[in-house]
Each structure stands twice: as structure tokens, then as C-alpha cells.
């Protein structure tokens, strides 16, 4: 082996060790998507072989030497109909099958655990409900549905885990979501696949799929002290939200207890289910989402709270399932000034960098 150049040798070794032709299937959706993928590969191969066979066979049979004079043929409606209808049928099968998979990937189950992921140039910041933050990494338990709620702070990013076969763009100004259920313990690539500027190719990280026990251990070891909801509660207090949203009968703002997941009727008569995206909009563009029976007096917090702050607030409101919790917040904040100007300046103090 000594006569093989070391560079080439290195390369060959790498080839043998790193070479793969197919990504690992590490989520529940992966085998389903791969089934469709291989069906399409099969159909494509048959189609391609057919075309090549036809071309080669006709070239051999009817080349000029063997077949000096061409026979003019106008066409054949039957044949043409065949190769119109068969591909159409196959494509429609792929469409239906693909649509079913698409529904599955983008419809999280109700019991999914939620992780917020904020994309910004050029990193992924994940926030677990318990307040654990991580950058360019994501720890998830296996055999448990995990919903990722995504938002971008600046440009379009795209959250992609090839081993799980899931991908979703993080777009500025709106929550998007995707979910998966990891099935195999391991370490998988996390990519940003939407071009997002200079260090686009450095916006990569790892997804660690762990057993639930390990995950619990990891959660305990990396806690930052307060959960997202607790951060949200603090923010809720300092922004004086409870001046209006205090669940008293004469409150100026709607009661927020148990509001998450309920159906609201808005002033224009339309009804809407309260989800993360709605709550975010209601905080940033309140006048477009006024609940029936209330005046459009809520100030906008656009530009005053960072995306992470919004996530904290949303998480707080989401967990606000008893009046007691809100009362606690309210009592701690009744002494805070109620005037809007001061509330705003207090809010500004809380803006996270």
C-alpha cells in the first residue's frame, strides 16, 4: 500500500467510512415519506428505462443502413392517449399520497410538547417550556411528539432536519410550525436551508434525540432558573398588562384565563381560535384582533418586545388556566403605574437585546 499517495489513501478511507446514499430514518414520518419517495423513484426508473429502451431500440432497428426509407406515420390517437392518461394517473396518485404526507407533517397532534425556535442571522435559538435555552442545538425526547413553533427575527430561514424528513421556513412576522416524533436515539444534523446571508452555511447545529429519561436529566441540568411562563409573567407585570387584563367584571381588556384554545368572536363578527399565532398578533397588532365587546384601546407592542419576549408572554398566557395565577400576578402589579406612557417606558426597560 505504500505506493498509494497518502492524500488518495486518506480520501479512500474517508470514502469507505463516510459514504452513504441515504439519510437515516429517525422519525415516525420518515418511513412514510420514504415509501412515497421510493415509489416515485420506481416510477421514474420505469419511465426512464422505457424512454431509453424506445430510443435505443428504434435507433438500432430503424437506422439508415437497415431501414433506408422512412415510413411516414401521422401519429396514433390510441398510443398518445395511453401516454397521456397513464402518466396523469400516476401523477395523481403521487399528488394524493404526497398531500396526505404533507398534512401529517404540518398538523401537530394536540398532545405535542412545544419547543419554540427563533431563527436569526446566523443561529438557531431553541427555547424549551421549562426555560432551557440552547443555540444551534436541540434536545428532544424520542417517542414523543414534539412541535416546533418557529419564527425569524430578521430574514427567511428554514429549519431542516433531514434525518426526520421535516423542514419548515422560519419567516419574519409570523409563527409557523412543524412537528416530528423521533424514533431513534442519536445525533442528527440541523440545517438552515433557506439562503439567509453571509454565514448561511454556518447556521447549522445538531439535534440530539434522547431517551425520555436522558431528556429529563438534560432538562434538569440545563435549567436557567425560570421557565418561559415565569419570564412571561414578569414581563406581563412590568408591561402592566394586568391593568386591563385582570379578569375583574369591569376590566377594560378581555379575560385571559383559559383563553388559549378557546374560540373568540371579534368585533367584525368573525370568530377565531386562539393559538400561538393569534396571541402574537394580538400583542403586536392589537387593533386588528379586538374581541367583541371591548374597545380597541390596547397599545401595540411592535418594536418594544423582542421575539423571545413575545414567546414568554405567549407561553404565560397559554398556561394561564386558573384565575389564581392571574390574581397572583395582578396583586404584585396593582401598585404599578397605570398610565400608558409610563407603562411603555417600563416595557422599554425590559426589551431584551
Amino acid at each position: 500500500m505504500s505506493h498509494i499517495s497518502p492524500v488518495l489513501w486518506q480520501f479512500l478511507v474517508k470514502w469507505m467510512t463516510d459514504f452513504s446514499l441515504f439519510p437515516p430514518e429517525a422519525s415516525k414520518i420518515a418511513p412514510q415519506m420514504d415509501a412515497l419517495y421510493f415509489f416515485m423513484v420506481l416510477v421514474s426508473l420505469i419511465g426512464l428505462t422505457l424512454v431509453i429502451l424506445l430510443v435505443v431500440a428504434f435507433s438500432l432497428l430503424y437506422n439508415k443502413r437497415r431501414h433506408p426509407v422512412a415510413v411516414q406515420i401521422e401519429g396514433s390517437t390510441l398510443l398518445e392517449a395511453t401516454w397521456t392518461i397513464i402518466p396523469l394517473g400516476l401523477f395523481l396518485v403521487m399528488f394524493v399520497w404526497g398531500a396526505l404526507i404533507y398534512f401529517r407533517v404540518y398538523t401537530p397532534p394536540n398532545n405535542a410538547m412545544n419547543v419554540y425556535v427563533v431563527g436569526k442571522q446566523w443561529m438557531w435559538k431553541a427555547e424549551h417550556p421549562g426555560g432551557q435555552h440552547e443555540i444551534n442545538a436541540l434536545h428532544v425526547p424520542i417517542n414523543e411528539p414534539v412541535q416546533i413553533t418557529l419564527i425569524s427575527e430578521d430574514v427567511f430561514h428554514s429549519f431542516s432536519i433531514p434525518a426526520f424528513r421535516v423542514k419548515r421556513e422560519a419567516i419574519p412576522g409570523r409563527y409557523t410550525s412543524v412537528w416530528f416524533e423521533a424514533t431513534k436515539v442519536g445525533k442528527y444534523h440541523l440545517f438552515c436551508t433557506q439562503y439567509c446571508g453571509t454565514d448561511h452555511s454556518h447556521m447549522i447545529g445538531w439535534v440530539y434525540a434522547m431517551t425520555p429519561d436522558d431528556y429529563q436529566k438534560w432538562l434538569n441540568s440545563s435549567t436557567s432558573g425560570s421557565s418561559l411562563a415565569q419570564n412571561g409573567e414578569r414581563l406581563f407585570a412590568s408591561l402592566s398588562c394586568s391593568a386591563c387584563h385582570n379578569s375583574r367584571p369591569d376590566a377594560r381588556g378581555p379575560n385571559l384565563v383559559g383563553v388559549y384554545g378557546s374560540k373568540l368572536t371579534l368585533t367584525d363578527g368573525s370568530s377565531i381560535t386562539v393559538d400561538d399565532a393569534y396571541l402574537r398578533q394580538a400583542i403586536l397588532n392589537p387593533s386588528q384582533h379586538v374581541t367583541q365587546g371591548y374597545a380597541p384601546i390596547m397599545p401595540t407592542y411592535q418594536g418594544q418586545i423582542s421575539e423571545e419576549g413575545v414567546i414568554d408572554l405567549v407561553q404565560y398566557i397559554k398556561n394561564l388556566d386558573t384565575d389564581y395565577r392571574l390574581k397572583q400576578t395582578t396583586t404584585t402589579t396593582t401598585l404599578l403605574p397605570e398610565s400608558q406612557g409610563k407603562a411603555t417606558s417600563a416595557a422599554k426597560g425590559m426589551v431584551k437585546q
Binding site: F103, Y106, T107, I272, T273
Partner: protein
Amino acid sequence: MSNHAETEHHIVSPKLYVVIFLSLLCLTGLTVAASYVEMYSFNVVVALGIAIVKAMLVVLFFMHVKYSSKLTKLTVFSGLFTFMVLIFMTLADYISRAWGRW
């Protein structure tokens, strides 16, 4: 120069132009007046309806489409069609986004 017949040049009489001109002015007045009447969501319908009628008058008579070849009519139609595709297919996304997840 090919097999299609060259279109006979039709000259529209000035009288017709005057009629169209006056009706355009009247319709302008009408649309302004209508905008002061509370008709809720029908305000848009009325305003756009009048605009479409006005545009049709201009296209058909001032632009002579009524007297033009089928090709010109087809051209106008295909332009409108693609315009509608752009607007309605895009709006379809925006409107159905509000329907929620499914």
C-alpha cells in the same frame, strides 16, 4: 399576408364618441355620488361595477375593440384572464390562510 382576412377598417362616427364621452362623465358623477351612500360591503361592488362599465365603454368604443378582429378581442381577453389569474390565485392563498390550519 397569410390566410386570415385583413380587417376592414371601421370608422366610428363622432356622434357615438360624444355619446360615450357623456356617459363616461355621467358614470363618474354616479360613482362619486354612490360613494356617499352607505351600502356597507356593496359600496365596493358598486364602485368597481361602475369602473368596469366605464372601462368597457372605453375599450369597446374608444379603442374600437367592438369593431376589431377576433384576434384583438382574444388578445384583450387573454390579458384580462392572466390578470385575473395573478390576482385571484394570489388572493386565494391570502383568504384561505385566514381559514386556519385546515
